[in-house]
Symmetry: C2
Subunit: 448 residues, 2 copies
C-alpha cells in the first residue's frame, strides 16, 4: 500500500463484481481455490523471485468496501440492492497458502493459493496479480543485475521512469529485497527503511559557470558525503577537477567519497578516471557509474574490465525493460470438491490445491522441485507454501525487510549459477508428483 | 494523484534535496528554467500524445512538506536545521508553461517549462518525469492502437499487469484520453468518470459443470448486459452454446450483447463465430476479442479480415510493452540570464525558455512545427505552450476528461496518416527558429 489509510477494493476489473453478483444471485458459495503462478519464462529468465506478498495479505485481511465505493457501484445501475448489501458486509474469511517473499520459484509453481467462498476468492484476483506480478518481476530483474555485478554494489535510480508513484515505491522495495543496497527514492527510504543515496545532477554543475567551482561548493555542503558527477563537459577533465577538489577536501580533514560517470564508454572512461584518481593519491575515492545499466550492460562492463565500484541502475531495471510483464495468472483450480482445469490454447493450469517441495543436497543447494497435491509429502524436501491467512486472519506479523533480504540471499546462493545465466539457457528441474499427474489426467478427461 | 489527501513531496530522488541544500547554503536562488522533453522516438513512434499535466500541476501548486517528511529528513543526518526550516516553509512560487493534455507533440519539443528559484524548479523534476512520462507513453501507445483499430472500439483491460496501483489508474485515464471507450478498472470509473466494462472470466465458466448452464445463469443475472466468454473449452462449440442462450434470451425479451474470444487464431475464429451467430439469426450480437492485443496485432487482425467489433486491449498497452519507457528528461535550460546547454554525449538540450509554434494548412492539418525562443512569434501559426501556473497559482480549472478527449481527437485527425504508421518510418518536420539556432551556437561555444 502507498498509504495504509487508502483502500483499493474498487481497484479491480469490473468482471470480478459482475461474476460475484451472478454467484450471489444463484446462491453459489462453494469453497473454491485459486492458484497464482507464472506460465512461461519471459526473455532470458530461468528463475523468479517472490515479492509482493505483504501488500496482498494486507489487502485480503482488510478487505472491506467503503460507503463511497458502494454509492458508486449503486450508480452504475448494474447491481441489485441485495447484492450491494452483501458487498457492504463482505470480508475475506478464507485461507491463503503462499511462498514467503525472497523465495526463488519457477514456472508453473503456485506462488499463492487462496481458498474461500468463490466470491471472496475471485474478487482478490486483480489486486493479487497487480501487486505480485510487478514486485516479483522487479525482484527477478534486480536479482539478475546483482548476479551480473558479481559483488559490486547496486543502487536503485529508477524512480523517475517507473510507471507511476506506486511502482516507484514497489520497485525500490523489490530491488532492495533482491540485494540492491540503496535507493534514490526518498519516500521509499521513509516508508521501508531502505538506505537512500544520491548527490548531484548535471543541472547542479551547469548552474555554475565553472565546473570546479560547482564541485567545491557541493563539497562544502557535504564534506563527508560528496560524490561528484564528472561527465557534464568532459569526463577525464572532470576527473582531474574532482581530484583537485578531493585533494583540497583532504587538506581540510574532509573526504571525497566518489565520482560518478553518467555517459560515454563506461569501461574506457572508468579505467582512465581510475588512473587519474590513483595518480593524485585518491585511490580510495570510488567510481560510481549510471546511464542505461541493466544486467546485460553490467555483465559486459564487468567482463571488459571496467573499474566501477558501484552502479546506479535506473530505468531498465525499474520497468523490467526487456520483459515488462510476466504471464502471471490467477486461476480457479478447485470448486467445492471438484478440481478444475482450463484447457484453452496455451492457458492450461494444474488442478487442485497444491504444495511445492524443494529437494536440496547436503549443502542446501537446490536439486529439484516437485509440485504435489496439497496434502502429499515428499521425503527429505522442504514444503515452500506456508499458511499465512486462516479464517481471514493473518497468522503472523510480516517479516522485516532484513529478514526478507536474508532469505533471498540464502536462497539465491543455493541456486546453481547455471540457472542464473542471463540467456536463461538452463531450465531448473520441476516435476509433478504422480498423484498430481493422475489428477491432471482425470481433470483433463473431465473438462474436454 | 491516487488520493487527493496523499502528498508525495518525498517521492523524489535524494539528489534533488542534496542539491537544494547546497543551493540554499550558498544563497543560490536565481530564477531558473527547466524544460521537459523527449530526446528520441522509441521503437516505431513518430509522434507523442501529451498526458499527465493535471497530476503535475496539482503536485506543484500544492507543494508542501509534511511534519513527518521533515522528521524523516532530519533523521537522515544529511541536512542542517536551517535548511529543514527552509523546506518547512517552501512552496512553489514560480510559473509553468505547458502543452495541454491531448495535444500531439514531437521529439525535442518542450512539453513543460518551469521557471522558479532554482531550488523550487529543481525539486519538481522527479515527480514531473514520473507522471508525464508514464501518461504520455500510454496515451501514445493507446493512440497507435486506436489508429490501428480503424474505427473499432477499444477497452482498457490492462489493470492486472500495469505496474502497480497508480499505473492502473493512470493507464485507464491516458488510454481514455487517446480514444479508448471504456476500462475494466472500476476505481478509474469512480475517480475519472470513465465508462466501465467487463462481464465474466474463465473461472466463472469452469465453476459450472456445464458451459451452457454457465451462460444461462449469467444471462439471468444480466439480461441486458451479457457478453459470454466462449473459448474456455472450444470456441466454435462455445459459439453454438452462446447462440442457443442468446436465442432463449430473445424469447424472454432480453438481449445478448456479445461474445468474447480470448485465445486462438482471432481472425479465423472470429469469422467462424460470426458465421455461427448469423446462421442463428443473431447478426446484431457483437464479437469482442482479447488476448495479447496491441497496435501490431490489431492492425494484422483487421487487415486479415477478422470479424471483430471491439477489442479488449490489456497488458501490452498497459505497460507499453515494446517501449516501456521514453527518454524523457527535465533539463536546466536557463539560470538567471544565462542560457544553459549540457553537451555530454547524446544528452544535449535546447537552451533558454522556449515556445513551439505549429503551422497548419487551410483545413487545419499539421504542416510543420517551429521551436522558438519563448518571446518570438511565428506568423499564421499556433503557439502550443500555454501559461498554466503563475506565481505558484493555477491559472485555470483543469479541463474535463471530455474536453481532453475532444482535443486529442481533433488534433489526431489533423495529423497526416503517414506519421501514424506503426513502423515510425516518417518524421514530422520540426525546425528550430533562426534565433534559437543562434542561441544554441552561442551557448555551445560558452559551455564546451
Amino acid at each position: 500500500m502507498i498509504n495504509p489509510l487508502d483502500r483499493y477494493e474498487l481497484l479491480t476489473d469490473l468482471y470480478e463484481l459482475t461474476m460475484a453478483a451472478s454467484y450471489f444471485e444463484n446462491g453459489m458459495a462453494e469453497q473454491s481455490t485459486f492458484s497464482l503462478f507464472i506460465r512461461n519464462y519471459p526473455n532470458g529468465r530461468s528463475f523468479f523471485v517472490a515479492a509482493g506478498l505483504e501488500q496482498f495479505l494486507d489487502y485480503a485481511a482488510g478487505f472491506q468496501f467503503s460507503e463511497s465505493d458502494l454509492t458508486y457501484l449503486d450508480r452504475t445501475g448494474l447491481f441489485s440492492d441485495d447484492f450491494l448489501d452483501y458487498l457492504k458486509a463482505v470480508r475475506f474469511t478464507g485461507s491463503v497458502y503462499a511462498l514467503a517473499e525472497g523465495e526463488i520459484f519457477f514456472k508453473d509453481e503456485p506462488v499463492l493459493e487462496v481458498t474461500a467462498p468463490i466470491i471472496e476468492a475471485q474478487i482478490l484476483e486483480t489486486f493479487a496479480i497487480n501487486t505480485m506480478n510487478l514486485q516479483s518481476m522487479i525482484a527477478t530483474k534486480a536479482a539478475r543485475c546483482v548476479h551480473a555485478a558479481d559483488g559490486r554494489r547496486l543502487v536503485d535510480f529508477s524512480l523517475r521512469r517507473t510507471h507511476g508513484i506506486d511502482a516507484g515505491l514497489k520497485v525500490a522495495r523489490s530491488s532492495y529485497i533482491a540485494g540492491f543496497v540503496a535507493t534514490s527514492n526518498v519516500l521509499a527510504g521513509k516508508l521501508y527503511g531502505i538506505p537512500i543515496s544520491g548527490t548531484m545532477a548535471h543541472s547542479y554543475v551547469t548552474s555554475f559557470e565553472d565546473e570546479t567551482e560547482a564541485f567545491r561548493t557541493f563539497a562544502r555542503s557535504f564534506p563527508q558525503k560528496t560524490i561528484l558527477l564528472i561527465d557534464t563537459y568532459d569526463t577525464v577533465e572532470g576527473a582531474h577537477k574532482a581530484a583537485k577538489v578531493g585533494d583540497e577536501m583532504g587538506k581540510h580533514g574532509d573526504k571525497l567519497l566518489g565520482v560518478r560517470l553518467d555517459s560515454g564508454d563506461m569501461t574506457l572512461l572508468s579505467q582512465e578516471v581510475r588512473h587519474v584518481l590513483d595518480e593524485e593519491g585518491l585511490s580510495d575515492v570510488e567510481i560510481f557509474a549510471s546511464s542505461g545499466f541493466d544486467e546485460y550492460k553490467i555483465a559486459r562492463t564487468v567482463k571488459d574490465g571496467a573499474r566501477i565500484d558501484a552502479f546506479g541502475v535506473g530505468t531498465k531495471m525499474g520497468v523490467s525493460a526487456d520483459a515488462p510483464y510476466f504471464d502471471m495468472a490467477y486461476k480457479l483450480v478447485q470448486y467445492g470438491e471438484r478440481p478444475i482445469m482450463k484447457v484453452s490454447t496455451g492457458k492450461a493450469n494444474l488442478p487442485g490445491k497444491k504444495q511445492v517441495f524443494r529437494k536440496t543436497d547436503h549443502k542446501g543447494r537446490f536439486l529439484e522441485d516437485v509440485i504435489c497435491i496439497r496434502n502429499e509429502t515428499v521425503e527429505a524436501a522442504r514444503p515452500l507454501l506456508e499458511p499465512v491467512i486462516e479464517d481471514g486472519k493473518l497468522l503472523r506479523k510480516h517479516p522485516s525487510m532484513d529478514e526478507i533480504r536474508q532469505r533471498f540471499r540464502k536462497n539465491f546462493a543455493a541456486l546453481d549459477d547455471r540457472y542464473k545465466a542471463l540467456d536463461g539457457a538452463h531450465s531448473y528441474p520441476v516435476k509433478l508428483s504422480a498423484r498430481l499427474k493422475a489428477l491432471q489426467e482425470a481433470s483433463s478427461a473431465l473438462t474436454v
